[in-house]
């Protein structure tokens, strides 16, 4: 079930568009913002709210890389794997991240603190290599800086 707030926010967003279905992606983001990910049940609820079939909504949900159809950790690390970051040492840093967290790309740590995902160019090439943790961008990464960031975020609850 969508909460009353979620339903209200989805419906008010839908009014910004000529066709309410255009709010499909917004709806997925609204649900994910509150719950961390988008379950099958949420896909069905969004579909019902916007007059779409669950398959249509899932087709959209699975297309976009920032919509998570599986549970993720409390913090999501998006590490840039595009060309400027690759030149500046992406491979070494992602190895370091994997070792520190004990997971590969796509994995979530056993304590549920972190999910590690690759992302395309973050538009931070002047501070490459770069990554995002949740909504924050971090550039000029080194092994030491990564260790510091992981410690900081592990302390943060959300």
């Amino acid at each position: 079930m969508l909460t009353a707030e979620e339903k209200h926010e989805i419906e008010s967003t839908a009014r910004r568009y000529e066709d309410p279905r255009a709010a499909c992606l917004d709806a997925l983001k609204i649900v994910q913002d509150g719950r961390g990910w988008v379950s099958d049940e949420s896909v069905r609820d969004i579909a019902a709210t916007l007059g779409m079939s669950p398959a249509e909504v899932d087709g959209v949900a699975t297309f976009y890389s920032l919509i998570f159809r599986r549970p993720v950790g409390r913090h999501v690390i998006l590490v840039c794997d595009s060309v400027s970051c690759w030149i500046m040492g992406y491979e070494r840093l992602v190895r370091h991240l994997s070792e520190r967290l004990g997971i590969g790309l796509g994995g979530t740590t056993a304590d549920g603190a972190f999910t590690l995902l690759p992302v395309v160019c973050l538009g931070a090439c002047d501070t490459a290599p770069a990554m995002m943790i949740d909504d924050e961008l971090h550039g000029d990464l080194t092994e030491e800086k990564i260790d510091r960031l992981l410690a900081e975020y592990r302390e943060k609850k959300e």
Partner: protein, 425 residues
């Protein structure tokens, strides 16, 4: 001291100007001069005379893009303007600077473009990862509604405009204008065949213009200071300034606003400080991942649309990616093509099937499993995925670094295959 109309107001610490600060610096003066005082077609003619070309990568003349929108009784309503703030071309970080540093300049540009095409509704399509820009634009949109620069009957002109911020959820495809329209309609970001062009049938089948951030940011300045001034900013036939950028192993990576037509050498050496100690320039991509490599002899070429095309590449986004002599070119091309293969939306066959094949072949060569015939496979693909064979420019764009890379770095490819290893690893 060269003029920097686009970035001159941006503070060194990057803190954005709020509405009042922007107005005190001369902001929204152009809007007050234009809206209700100048016919939309006059604004279009002014921009035509200025010679402004799109800054998103393709360099299409802005006024010509507008001219295809049906006007008067022929026009179906609403007419839409979409600001393409989905900056995702690898190696490109110029729009972020404008969006975060001076959101009101961008919004004034959006309103002026909307006025020129007599749009009813404008959407800002911002990539989901640009969270700081989203916060600042949301704030600025609220302020312009308050100030009456958007909304109903703007400044008594009889013209009304709705303005909305839409944030994306990833996928490079969304930067392609017809795919962006699909995405904004709440669908998968698949491109659409042209014609019909978006100006005739775009968002929800209505007339739609999609325009890049940097292009839009130029409009308030052209409107305020005129076409002749804008032409005088440049050092070449293409007018205005350009935000150039450099990434890779240079001393000071960054982005700088310079006259259009500034030579590579000045950007790379004077602005970016040249290569890091001990490294030499091997080649560069002048304007993002989907532009052809230029070799080390490109230093005296002017970074403008015509010169870059004549040199066999493209200006693209104007933010160059530098390859040094100690980084593997085959590895770099593998990274680029793996990106394109991943980001293909799968809508048409050559791109969906061809790019993964190319990426696998490049991976095999890079990992020391390549065969001489692989180079023919790669070469063949550059034709099969070239312009005109796909719905959009993703695959043809992907072929630019591949085809130029096969020429530029031929001996590196052959050495990988001959020695069955990557010599850089």
């Amino acid at each position: 001291m060269t003029e920097k109309p686009l970035t001159g107001r941006i503070r060194p610490n990057g803190e954005p100007l709020n509405l009042r600060e922007y107005e005190q610096a001369g902001g929204y003066e152009a809007l007050r001069q234009v809206v209700g005082r100048m016919a939309p077609v006059e604004l279009m003619n002014l921009v035509r005379d200025s010679g402004l070309r799109g800054r998103g990568g393709a360099g299409f003349p802005t006024s010509m893009k507008w001219s295809f929108v049906p006007r008067g009784k022929l026009a179906r309503r609403p007419v839409y303007l979409i600001a393409n703030a989905d900056e995702m071309e690898p190696g490109t970080f110029k729009d972020r600077l404008l969006l975060e540093g001076d959101p009101h300049q961008f919004i004034e540009g959006v309103i002026l473009a909307a006025y020129a095409i007599e749009a009813d509704i404008a959407y800002i399509f911002l990539r989901g990862e640009y969270t700081l820009a989203a916060k600042r634009i949301r704030q600025a949109v609220g302020e312009v509604y308050q100030a009456g620069y958007v909304g109903k009957n703007i400044r008594g002109s009889g013209w009304s405009l709705e303005l909305h911020l839409h944030t994306g959820a990833g996928r490079y495809m969304c930067g392609e204008e017809t795919a962006l329209i699909s995405s904004l309609e709440g669908r998968r970001a698949n491109p659409r065949g042209k014609p019909p062009f978006p100006q005739v049938s775009g968002l929800f089948g209505r007339p739609t213009v999609v325009q890049n951030v940097e292009t839009l940011c130029n409009l308030p300045h052209i409107a305020a200071r005129g076409a002749a001034w804008f032409k005088g900013l440049s050092r070449c036939n293409d007018s205005g300034t350009k935000i150039y950028g450099v990434s890779g192993k240079v001393k000071r990576p960054g982005a700088w606003e310079l006259p259009m037509g500034t030579p590579v050498r000045e950007i790379l050496e004077d602005c970016a400080g040249g290569m890091r100690d001990g490294l030499k320039l091997r080649a560069l991509q002048p304007g993002g991942a989907s532009t052809d490599f230029l070799d080390e002899n490109c230093l005296d070429l002017a970074m403008d649309f015509e010169t870059m095309q004549a040199a066999g590449s493209r200006l693209g986004t104007g933010t160059m990616i530098v390859l040094d002599d100690q980084t593997c070119p085959v590895g770099m091309i593998h990274n680029l093509l793996r990106f394109f293969a991943q980001e293909s939306c799968g809508w048409c066959t050559p791109c969906r099937e061809g790019l993964p094949w190319i990426a696998r072949t490049l991976q095999a060569i890079e990992e020391g499993r390549g065969e001489p015939a692989d180079l023919d496979v790669l070469e063949t693909h550059t034709h099969l995925l070239g312009p005109g064979l796909t719905y959009c420019a993703l695959a043809p764009g992907a072929m630019e670094p591949l085809q130029s890379g096969l020429k530029c770095f031929r001996e590196d490819f052959e050495r990988h295959i001959r020695e069955q290893r990557c010599p850089w690893r």
